[in-house]
Amino acid sequence: MEAFNYRKAGSADEAVSTLASAADGKFLAGGMTLLPTMKQMLATPDTLVDLGGASELVGISRDGDNLVIGAMTTHATVAGSAEVHSAIPALAALASGIGDPMVRNRGTIGGSIANADPAADYPAAVVGLNATVNTNKRSIAADEFFVDVFETALADDELVVSVSFPIPAKAAYQKFPNPASRYAVVGVMVAQTGDGVRVAVTGAGPSVFRASSFEDALGGNFSASALDGLSVSADNLNEDIHASAAYRANLVGVMAKRAVAAC
């Protein structure tokens, strides 16, 4: 790890201005991804701006038909929140399946989605539930937020402030974990939202995507059997030592059915 400056911001505004004054700064949330990356010298920022002191970035609240989760809210907090359990139990379940207790106690929703790991769980929730990502500059619709592998619509100096999840009629998340890392080989969020049925798939492709043929089928008949005979194409799906594209394509179908059944 290279030496770096450490700055702890007392507020979101201070975080943004501190980052602006650094040559090559980065926000530090839970550090669960950023610090290992720095240890491996894959990232060498000169300044880390710790968001841990910005209390307005933490917390879960109900805003009409939306559940709003602050960027610095940890996975453990989401998993254990009564508010989340009553509004969107699928979201609490998803958070409880991320990593291990240490990761859940440090890792944050803002860090997770800003990082946009193709195998991360939260992207399936953000897209599947048609959430809005609120930043210091604007609001970004879920479908616009995730761009590619580790790439989002965020500008370098843009801070995720919170994520607003419209409360769905029903939703469930099913994850097929990588046996080694326990990240998602495939994770599927299925939801009945005001906007119709949404099926978001993480882990399988370079970035989270919607399985539109599944959405259409489920829109007509919201039952697991509606997905019989349907599949996603294996073209462009990820392939690694753990899973071929064909296996991932199969898992998308299986996890989607199980998610529908769990709704």
Binding site: M1, E2, M41, F176, N178, P179, A180, S181, Y183, I241, H242, A243, S244, A246, Y247, N250, L251, V254
Partner: protein, 791 residues
């Protein structure tokens, strides 16, 4: 006299582990916990390439970096030898194996990713790391030899340019002609090709070493994460650094798991020893986890073709196994012994197969060295044998249990000479099999299978009957087979004047629980509470010359030495007691801590005898030396032969291929058992590693020699929720040739479980016509096979 309170700490009691109090509270003292005054830190510069020439190393930028004290390369070690190999195997043509130099630091070439090239020593670890990144090594990359079959091809380039080929040895055992004839004439021959997957040992504690040179007396102390400090002192002192033994003390304090990987002498131990003298300060090196993956010796990695010949009744006639065994880039300390004498000799298994022949080629590749890993050779033997037997059962239509029964060596056939050089002293393979079948309700399987099918799951059941050989011995025979070390063990029993006891043992505990088990042997023999016994190990400055712990030898060899030393204590105690009671020593009996004269009420306690030995006012000084301290060196007459039967029942999810082990039973014959709880724990741990090998673990190299599974993101270690609730049972046939009648239990779990698991998978996939799936049998593989064969 009132009957003494029973101690409940003797042989056969499940005494809770006395060492756990410090381990669980974080009070253990591991090498990295040791902080010496003015200690410095070493960081290795390792090759990023699998095969390259090293054209030059520019250390100037690193030397100029903050806090740096020294940057050392091979030039600084030119006065020293290479790392020695402790076992010389001969090829079938009589030639000794090829033994290319294993330099401490790369000399002009690197041969695997992780090969150490230079070392930076600095005031802090952070400074050493930073400077290590500044060491500028000029490499010319070459295309590496990764795959064993490619490496043995005639046209292959050489891992070591000064060797004739990449074949280290071409070894054989058994009667080739008789085996060939039996195979040719057999009613049925089952043939199987299989891989025994390469494993990364992953001890919880990474390797670490501190060199501490004392300028005042010229003495070196090496603190190291070793399973056998005397072996390191001998190898490093005598063969690498030419340090006289009385000037080299090796301390292996608490060690957090080894599984074999901490038997071997590694370059870093020599490096910190030399560096400490050079800079005049202690030098500490601690591996990080990524470094462990590319520098700890790996395990297994065999490619085997096996043929099993049978008569029309399923009676085994012959077995032939041809194996390529990966040595990696260099010969690690005991690497050549693993696929040969610890593997080929086990190919009879529990069966009466009359003709056996095996040919094993050790192969150099541009990968991390491969050496002993929990079971060392015996898991590979047990796996190929129990897989081919199961396949033979499928092919002949004979029930797998019945086929095994027809071929078992019978309980009255011992001692039994196998065609592959071993003499089994005792065993009862039927007994453990019967027990395992009963405990797992063999009769109810079809019902459970139907119930699983109703839930969309394929249920399978697999058995494996293993035998293994522990406590490798005797020294003279091992020596004749190529061992360059003795294989005895030593123990000193030092009775203190007030009757407490220190045992100084050459065995080494790195998690096994010696401080409890060995103390139980003392408590049982001397009738003293376990609190009064201290087990001292791991310091060549304190203990007698011992060979350490590996190959499940601690209780079978170290325990035997302890028992013999205790016998000497009792013998001398009887003489002292006889003097005190004015009787003949022949009339003195020792029981429950009391020396007494039979038929009288005269007795004297162990504590009084101890005090008399050290305060010899009333003592037979003319015939007996004062003091009460005895040492025994024990060289075993034979291996011990634990055996057993394992049953695995599992379910496969048809949609995903996910395997869920729903029942696992281990029925073992470990001979006499000192502490059933510790033994059960050893079996649980072994089974966890065996299940890991069978379903999850596997080191994967890409064509460039990069380890694709170089972290826990990709190398899948078994976790608690991957494992079933393993149940155990025991049948005891006591070992006939050691004083405690024990056999050893450290590796059995890892030996018996992989074939039981894979047999169960193949059984579950019966409808798919699958003959074999190589380990690790991942969900992905299972799903692919189910779908390739037409779901």
């Amino acid at each position: 006299m009132a009957a003494a309170e029973p101690l409940n700490t003797g042989i056969g009691e499940s005494v809770t582990r006395v060492e756990d109090s410090r381990f669980l509270r974080g009070h253990g003292n591991y090498v990295d916990d040791i902080i010496l005054p003015s200690q410095t830190y070493a960081v290795m510069v390792r090759s990023p390439y699998a095969r390259a020439t090293v054209n030059g190393i520019d250390t100037s930028a690193a030397m100029g970096s903050g806090g740096v004290l020294a940057v050392l390369t091979a030039d600084d070690f030119s006065a020293f030898g290479g790392l020695p190999c402790g076992w010389q195997v001969h090829s079938k043509n009589g030639d000794p194996m090829t033994e290319p130099k294993h330099p401490i630091l790369a000399e002009g070439a690197v041969r695997h990713v992780g090969d150490p090239v230079a070392v930076v020593i600095a005031e802090s670890k952070a400074e050493a790391r930073r400077a290590a990144a500044l060491v500028d090594v000029n490499y010319t990359e070459m295309s590496p030899l990764i795959d064993m079959q490619g490496a043995v091809a005639g046209s292959a380039e050489l891992v070591h340019s000064d060797t004739p080929s990449n074949v280290c040895f071409d070894w054989e055992l058994g009667d080739e002609a008789a085996t060939e004839a039996a195979i040719a004439g057999a009613a049925h021959v089952t043939r199987l090709e299989l891989v025994n997957n390469r494993l990364v040992p992953n001890a919880m504690e990474p390797r670490a070493a501190i060199g501490d040179y004392n300028t005042a007396n010229g003495e070196h102390t090496l603190y190291t994460t070793s399973q056998n400090p005397h072996v390191i002192r001998l190898l490093m002192g005598a063969f690498v650094l030419s340090l006289p033994e009385h000037k080299l003390r090796v301390i292996a304090p608490d060690v957090g798991g080894g599984f074999g990987s901490k038997i071997f002498h590694y370059a870093e131990e020599a490096i910190v020893t030399v560096a400490s003298k050079l800079i005049g300060r202690p030098v500490k090196w601690t591996a990080d986890r990524s470094e462990s993956f590319i520098s700890d010796a790996h395990g297994r990695d065999h490619l085997t073709t096996v043929e099993l010949a049978m008569d029309a009744n399923g009676k085994f006639l012959a077995l032939r196994a041809t194996t390529l065994a990966n040595m990696g880039a260099y010969l690690s300390t005991f690497a050549p012994s693993v696929p040969t004498y610890l593997h080929g000799t086990l190919l009879a298994g529990t069966y009466t197969t009359p003709a056996i022949y095996t040919n094993v080629k050790g192969v150099f590749t541009n990968t991390v060295a491969v050496d002993a890993y929990r079971g060392a050779g015996r898991p590979e033997a047990s796996y190929l044998l129990e897989r081919v037997v199961d396949l033979a059962a499928i092919e002949t239509g004979i029930d797998p249990v019945e086929l095994r029964r027809r071929n078992f060596i019978q309980p009255d056939a011992f001692p039994y000479d196998t065609p592959v050089a071993l003499t089994y002293d005792i065993g009862n393979y039927q007994a453990t099999l019967d027990m395992a079948l009963e405990k797992t309700d063999a009769a109810g399987f079809e019902g459970r299978k139907a119930a699983s099918a109703a839930r969309g799951k394929l249920r399978g059941r697999g058995i494996a009957c293993y035998i293994e050989a522990c406590g490798i011995a005797p020294s003279n025979i091992a020596g004749a087979l190529g061992a360059r070390a003795g294989l005895y063990e030593a123990a000193t029993v030092r009775v203190n004047p007030t009757g407490s006891v220190a045992v100084l043992t050459g065995s080494h505990s790195h998690g096994q629980g010696h401080e409890t088990t060995f103390a139980q042997v003392v408590s049982d023999t001397l009738g003293i509470p376990i609190e009064n016994v201290d087990i001292v190990h791991g310091d060549t400055g304190k203990i007698p010359f011992g060979m350490g712990t590996y190959g499940s030898r601690s209780i079978a060899v170290g325990g035997a030495a302890l028992a013999n030393a205790l016998d000497k204590i009792v013998l001398k105690g009887r003489q002292i007691a006889a003097h005190l009671m004015e009787a003949s020593a022949d009339d003195v009996v020792f029981k429950d801590g009391q020396f007494s004269i039979e038929g009288t009420d005269k007795s004297v306690g162990f504590g009084d005898v101890a005090l008399t030995a050290y305060v010899p006012h009333n003592f037979p000084l003319e015939t007996l030396e004062p003091g009460l301290e005895e040492t025994a060196f024990y060289d075993p007459k034979n291996f011990t032969y634990p055996s057993g039967a394992y049953v695995c029942e599992l379910e496969i999810d048809k949609e995903t291929g996910v395997i869920d082990i729903v029942d696992f039973h281990a029925s073992d014959d470990f001979g006499n058992i000192i502490n059933p709880m510790i033994v059960e724990g050893q079996v649980h741990g072994g089974v966890a590693q065996g299940v890991g090998q069978a379903l999850m673990e596997g080191a994967v190299y890409d064509d460039n020699g990069q380890l694709m599974t170089g972290s826990y993101m990709d190398y899948c270690m078994p976790r608690a929720d991957d494992l079933p609730n393993v149940t155990v049972s025991n049948h005891v046939t006591a070992c006939t040739h050691n004083p405690l009648g024990v056999k050893g239990c450290g590796e059995a779990g890892a030996i018996g479980s992989p074939p039981a698991v894979v047999n169960a998978v193949i059984n579950a996939l019966g409808d798919y016509g699958v003959k074999h799936i190589d380990m690790p049998v991942t969900a992905h593989k299972v799903w692919s096979i189910m779908n390739a064969n037409g779901n």
